[in-house]
C-alpha cells in the first residue's frame, strides 16, 4: 500500500549513528528519480568537493517497487566525481526488492568511515562491519566473501565496489549482485571516498496488500502482457545484444574509436553469435519474469595438460560495443574475457572501453608513448586491453590517473580532444545521428536512457529542430515518471500512463494517480534544478569533432542541425531548471 510519506534511513559513517525519518511529498516527488533529486537538493553541499564526507550517497525506490512486475529497479544518486554535479544511475538485481522488504523508500549514506566498512541492513539490523580485509579485493571476490560471511536468507542484495571505486576513479561503477550495476558517472568512487566497500541489505520484511481481488487481477493482467505476448521477446531472446547486427547494418555501430560505423567483423560479435557460442543461461532481476540478463560462458586453457578455468560473464549490447567493436575485437570469447576483467576491477564498462579506444588512437598518433602507458594497445589485439584494465582501475601512473578522471580529462592534457568519443561522458554505442549526440551530451545522466534519441534518429524524421526538441522533452518527461516508480525502462510500453494510474489507484494512491502528469513535469524540472545547483551549464557542453566526421546510413553528420539542436536543448534545460532567459 502506498504511504503518503517516505520512510528514509540515514546512516552517518563518521559517527556510526543512524536515524529513520518520515518525509512528506509522495504526491509530488513520487519516489525513485523524483525522491533522489529532492534529497540531493536538500542534502548535497554544492560548495564542497564531490568526495567531501558531507556529500550524500542516495538509494531510492518507488511507490510501485515490488508491487508489480518489472518495478524492479533502484535509483542511486550522488555528486559525481566526473563533473562534481548531480548524478543519477539505475540498477536492478535484488536491490529494489531488498530495499522494499526492509520497509525503506530511501537509504542515505553520509560521512566517511575511518576504516573500510560494510554497511549491513535489514528489518531489524543496522550495523557497520569492519572490512579492512576486503579492501583491495575485486568486486566478484568481495561478493563471494560477503555471501559466506553474512548468513542471510538469500533474499538480499550485495552492493559493492572493486579497486576502481577504492581508487576514486570517475569511471568506477557500483556492482549490484554480480551482474547488474550502477554503472555510470562514478558512483563507485563515492563509496570508495566514504571507505564503504559494500552495502548488504536483507529484505526480510513484508508489506500489506489491499483487500479484495482488484490488485491481484491487475497484477495478473500485467504479468500476462509481459510473459504471454511478444512485447518483451526481444529482451529475453537475444537480449539487447540483438542491436549489434542491426546498428552495424545501419552504419551506426561505433568501431575502433568511432573511426568506422560498420565492419564485416560483426559476424564474430553479433547477438546471434553470442547466443550460439557463449550463452550459458538467462537470469532476472527480482520481480521480473522477463529475464533479460544474458550470462555468457568462456573457458580458458591455463595448462598444457588440459587444465581449464571458466568464466561466467553477463553481457549486453553496451558492454559488447564498448569492449568489442570499439576496441576492434571481433571474437566473442575475447570480448567476454575483457568484460570479466572490467567486472572484477569495478569499472563502468562503457566508460572503460571508450577510454581505452581513445588511448589506442592516441598511441597511434604518437600523442602518448608506450613508456607512458606501460602497455601497448592496438585495435583488435586483446592482450593489451586485458593488461590495461587493472592499470586504469588502479591509476598506476600519471597517464592512467588522468584517464581514470575521464577520457576528456586525459585528452585535455595529452591532446586528441577531437577524437575523444565523449558526449558528456564516454559515449553509449549509438552513432545514430545528431539527435542522439545532442541528447547524450546534454542529458541529465549523459546516457542513452534519458530519452530514446537513438530511436528518433532511426525513424528518419526530418531535420526539424522544433520537432526534435519536442520529442526530447516529452520523452524525458514520460521516462522520468517511470524512473520515479521505479520501472525497468524495458517495460515502458506495458506501463503506459493509464496502466500506471490503475496501479497507483489499486494501491490506495488515487490522488497520486490523478496528479501523475503534473508530478512528471515537476520532477523533470526538479532534476534539472539539482543538476544546475551544482554549476551545470548546458551551453558549455561541446560535441567533439569525431562525431561530425561520422557517416551513417543517412550520410555525414549535419553540423548546423547539430548546433541548432544543441543550443535549443540547452535553452530548454535552463528553462526547466527555472533559470531560463
Amino acid at each position: 500500500m502506498i504511504s503518503p510519506t517516505f520512510r528514509i534511513l540515514e546512516v552517518n559513517l563518521s559517527s556510526g549513528r543512524s536515524a529513520i525519518r518520515s518525509m512528506p511529498g509522495v504526491e509530488t516527488c513520487l519516489g525513485g528519480s523524483g525522491l533522489a533529486a529532492r534529497l540531493h537538493l536538500d542534502l548535497a553541499k554544492p560548495h564542497l568537493a564531490w568526495d567531501d564526507p558531507a556529500q550524500p550517497l542516495i538509494f531510492a525506490i518507488g511507490p510501485l517497487t515490488g508491487f508489480f512486475p518489472l518495478m524492479s529497479k533502484s535509483v542511486c544518486a550522488f555528486t559525481s566525481p566526473l563533473h562534481s554535479q548531480y548524478a543519477e544511475s539505475h540498477a536492478g538485481g535484488r536491490s529494489a526488492l531488498a530495499l522494499r522488504f526492509t520497509g525503506l523508500d530511501a537509504l542515505i549514506v553520509t560521512g566517511r568511515s575511518e576504516r573500510p566498512v560494510v554497511l549491513h541492513l535489514g528489518c531489524n539490523v543496522i550495523e557497520l562491519l569492519d572490512a579492512g580485509y576486503l579492501w583491495g579485493k575485486d568486486a566478484l571476490t568481495t561478493g563471494k566473501l560477503l555471501r559466506s560471511i553474512l548468513k542471510g536468507s538469500g533474499h538480499r542484495t550485495i552492493i559493492r565496489i572493486g579497486p576502481a571505486g577504492e581508487n576514486k576513479s570517475a569511471m568506477a561503477c557500483i556492482n549490484v549482485d554480480t551482474y547488474r550495476h550502477f554503472g555510470r558517472l562514478g558512483g563507485g568512487a563515492v563509496m570508495g571516498a566514504k571507505n564503504l566497500k559494500a552495502i548488504a541489505i536483507e529484505g526480510n520484511g513484508s508489506q500489506d496488500l489491499p483487500a479484495g481481488k482488484d490488485y491481484s487481477a491487475l497484477y495478473a493482467d500485467i504479468f500476462r502482457k509481459l510473459t504471454d505476448t511478444d512485447m518483451m521477446r526481444k529482451y529475453h531472446n537475444l537480449g539487447t545484444a540483438s542491436n549489434l547486427e542491426a546498428l552495424n547494418e545501419l552504419k551506426a555501430l561505433p568501431w575502433r574509436n568511432l573511426q568506422a560505423t560498420s565492419d564485416p567483423g560483426i559476424t564474430g560479435i553479433s547477438g546471434q553469435r553470442f547466443a550460439d557460442d557463449t550463452l550459458l543461461r538467462n537470469a532476472a532481476c527480482s520481480g521480473c519474469p522477463v529475464g533479460c540478463i544474458h550470462i555468457g560462458f568462456v573457458r580458458e586453457k591455463f595448462h598444457a595438460d588440459n587444465q581449464y578455468l571458466y568464466r561466467q560473464v553477463g553481457y549486453d549490447y553496451e558492454p559488447i560495443f564498448a569492449t568489442g567493436s570499439m576496441l576492434g575485437l571481433t571474437k566473442a570469447p575475447e570480448v567476454l574475457t575483457v568484460m570479466d576483467e572490467v567486472e572484477k576491477v569495478g569499472l563502468d564498462v562503457m566508460s572503460a572501453g571508450v577510454a581505452l579506444a581513445w588511448a589506442t588512437e592516441a598511441l597511434e598518433h604518437g600523442l602518448v608513448s608506450v613508456e607512458q602507458t606501460g602497455v601497448g594497445l592496438r585495435f583488435g589485439e586483446v592482450e593489451g586491453y586485458l593488461k590495461a584494465m587493472p592499470m586504469l582501475a588502479g591509476g598506476v601512473n600519471e597517464f592512467w590517473r588522468l584517464l581514470a578522471a575521464g577520457t576528456m580529462a586525459a585528452a585535455r592534457h595529452y591532446g586528441g580532444q577531437d577524437f575523444a568519443c565523449v558526449l558528456g561522458q564516454e559515449m553509449a554505442g549509438y552513432a545514430t545521428g545528431e539527435v542522439f549526440y545532442v541528447a547524450q551530451s546534454l542529458g541529465l545522466r549523459h546516457s542513452h536512457l534519458d530519452t530514446g534519441a537513438y530511436s528518433y534518429d532511426q525513424s528518419n524524421a526530418p531535420k526539424d529542430v522544433t520537432k526534435a526538441l519536442e520529442f526530447l522533452l516529452e520523452d524525458e518527461r514520460e521516462r522520468v515518471v517511470l524512473t520515479s516508480m521505479v520501472a525497468c525502462l524495458f517495460a515502458r510500453k506495458v506501463y503506459d500512463p493509464d496502466t500506471l494510474r490503475q496501479c497507483l489507484t489499486v494501491l490506495g494512491g488515487r490522488e497520486i494517480a490523478d496528479g501523475l502528469d503534473k508530478a512528471g513535469s515537476r520532477i523533470q524540472n526538479l532534476r534539472w534544478q539539482a543538476r544546475i545547483a551544482n554549476g551545470y551549464d548546458p551551453f558549455q557542453v561541446k560535441i567533439p569533432k569525431r562525431f561530425l566526421e561520422v557517416s551513417t546510413w543517412k550520410g555525414q553528420t549535419d553540423p548546423q542541425y547539430l548546433e541548432n539542436l544543441r543550443l535549443a536543448y540547452a535553452k530548454a534545460i535552463k528553462e526547466m531548471s527555472g533559470q531560463g532567459n
Binding site: R100, G154, T178, D208, F223, S286, V290
Partner: protein, 134 residues
C-alpha cells in the same frame, strides 16, 4: 491428489515470481519470504537457483513436531495448516530437513499447501502440479 513439484529448476532465472504469487494469493501480503516456496541462489547468482519448498514427506516431521495440531499430515504427503491453532513456537521449521518452512519476524510459519497458485506465474515452467496416489 496433486502435489507441487519444482521439477525443472535448472530453467529458473531467479525472478521470485512464484514466491511473490504465493505471498500475494495465499497469504495476502507482499513478500518473497512469507511464502510456501522461496527461491535462493545456490551459492551466488552464477551457480543457478534452488527452490525451498515442501517435498511432501510422508509422514511429515513438521506435523509430528507441531504441539497443537496446527500442521497435520496431508493425504499423499505434506501438510494441511490451521493457522488459528499456531502458537508460533517454530518447532515445525526446526523439524523440516530441507528448510522448506519459513518463519516471519513474529514466528508465524509459511509452508506450501500444494494449492498450485504459484505455477501459473513461473515464466519458464519450472513448477508443475503432479498427480499422486493419496
Amino acid at each position: 491428489m496433486k502435489q507441487l513439484v519444482a521439477s525443472r529448476m535448472e530453467r529458473c532465472i531467479g525472478c521470485h515470481s512464484c514466491s511473490l504469487a504465493c505471498a500475494r494469493l495465499v497469504h495476502k501480503c507482499l513478500s518473497w519470504e512469507n511464502a510456501g516456496i522461496r527461491i535462493q541462489s545456490s551459492g551466488g547468482l552464477s551457480t543457478g537457483f534452488l527452490a525451498k519448498v515442501c517435498l511432501t514427506c510422508d509422514p511429515p516431521p513438521c506435523a509430528a513436531a507441531c504441539p497443537t495440531g496446527s500442521l497435520k499430515a496431508r493425504k499423499g504427503g505434506g501438510v494441511v495448516q490451521q493457522k488459528k491453532l499456531c502458537i508460533q513456537c517454530g518447532k515445525c521449521a526446526a523439524a523440516c530437513p530441507v528448510e522448506a518452512i519459513a518463519l516471519d519476524r513474529l514466528g508465524n510459519p509459511y509452508v506450501c499447501i500444494h494449492c498450485g497458485s504459484c505455477v501459473d506465474f513461473c515464466p519458464h515452467d519450472c513448477l508443475e502440479m503432479r498427480e499422486v496416489e493419496a
